[in-house]
Symmetry: C2
Subunit: 201 residues, 2 copies
DNA sequence: AATAATATGAACATTGTGTCAGATAATATA
DNA sequence: TATATTATCTGACACAATGTTCATATTATT
């Protein structure tokens, strides 16, 4: 007793319409009618499959997300696998670029992280550009400046979020010190003893 | 000719009510009536000041965000100021912890970044825990493991987003290499020549 | 105290939501 | 192929929230 074809077809159409419409109008502006119209289905049909718009979204996300999980699980876990796993994530992002673009940037007035990040980005960028100008150009950098800035600001913001979510277990000075340590010297110093022991590296 | 007191009072109350309600029900579930009821104001009054809910939110955000900008601007820009600026951000986050908590985590079904990040976090954590167990415990780490993981995953995700937003200028292998380089050795190697030149470091 | 600005409450049209019943169409299975 | 099952469609419904308007009341400002 297999699943009725109509079901799979309908759900695929709904999902597809959602993606399309997100690109066109943005998630928040989409109504159920928009989705069913675009999919050429009755509005009530939607409710036969999903509770509401969010339900459709999260289920669609999880489909793609599970793909990533499965691929990551093909590795035996281990620190030595950090690098291949990283590459796998970039590959998955490339294959599902549209999906990632839509979703990683968030929807709605999720401008918030964005706003704070912009501020930090802008500030750091200015500092770097001034310093580099004095040194005679950006050529001394081995990688694009924006990439470096992004690395700085997202990791900083990530640490700040962690810190807030965990009831701020350290003082701002201590946090700054730890972050700065990670940033300037990397995690090589921390990881090396671990890596030496791992056979499969 | 200064601003009527009622205006400032009303706006402050609306903003205050919004924060409170976000904590209680989450942004998406809030209605205009919720806000005005909580603030003891007529519903029509809301529209005298703001276009809609998003308008109130973004304006409220910008108020706090501008504070941060102003403080950052008290520094002369420069790479040497990276560390004090970082500390300033942590301090600002501590002072406005509620604001940051609410907003940095986003609202609504912004689960998306969260979902992908969870996956990555989980995978990395498992790898580390296995490796550390073999080495006889987490004591060899000079900082909390979750903090380290957060640094890894947010910077990775940040780089992925940058990459996607910039039309994927490099191959996944190249990206992995650059990211890995940053991660393992930090930016000290890149920055040191710059820092040596800076007088005020 | 007079005046100008702001807040209020009631009413209204509009849009979207979620549900339901009955009719129709597509599909699975024997 | 015939039949039972299951999905979809249509139209209607009650409900909740939005955003505007207008006449009236309240409150700052000078």
């Amino acid at each position: 007793m297999k699943q009725d074809r109509r079901i799979t077809r309908t759900r695929a159409q709904l999902k597809e319409s959602l993606w399309n419409l997100i690109l066109k109008k943005g998630y928040d502006a989409i109504t159920i009618s928009d989705i069913t119209d675009h999919a050429n289905l009755g509005r009530t049909t939607f409710y036969l499959h999903y509770k509401d718009k969010d339900d459709l979204l999260t289920k669609s996300i999880d489909e793609t997300a599970n793909e990533l999980v499965q691929r990551l699980d093909t590795f035996q876990p281990g620190i030595g696998k950090l690098k291949p796993a990283t590459e796998l994530i970039f590959e998955h992002a490339a294959e599902n670029a549209e999906f990632y673009r839509i979703l990683l940037q968030g929807h709605g007035v999720q401008t918030t992280t964005g706003r704070v990040q912009e501020i930090i980005n802008h500030h750091i960028t200015r500092g770097f550009e001034l310093a580099l100008a004095q040194l005679g150009g950006k050529e001394i950098l081995s990688l694009p400046l924006p990439l470096l800035i992004q690395f700085l600001s997202t990791s900083l913001l990530g640490i700040v979020i962690w810190w807030l979510e965990n009831e701020m277990p350290f003082s701002p000075e201590e946090m700054t010190k730890q972050y700065y340590q990670l940033l300037m010297n990397g995690i090589g110093g921390i990881l090396r003893p671990v890596l030496r022991k791992e056979a499969d590296y």
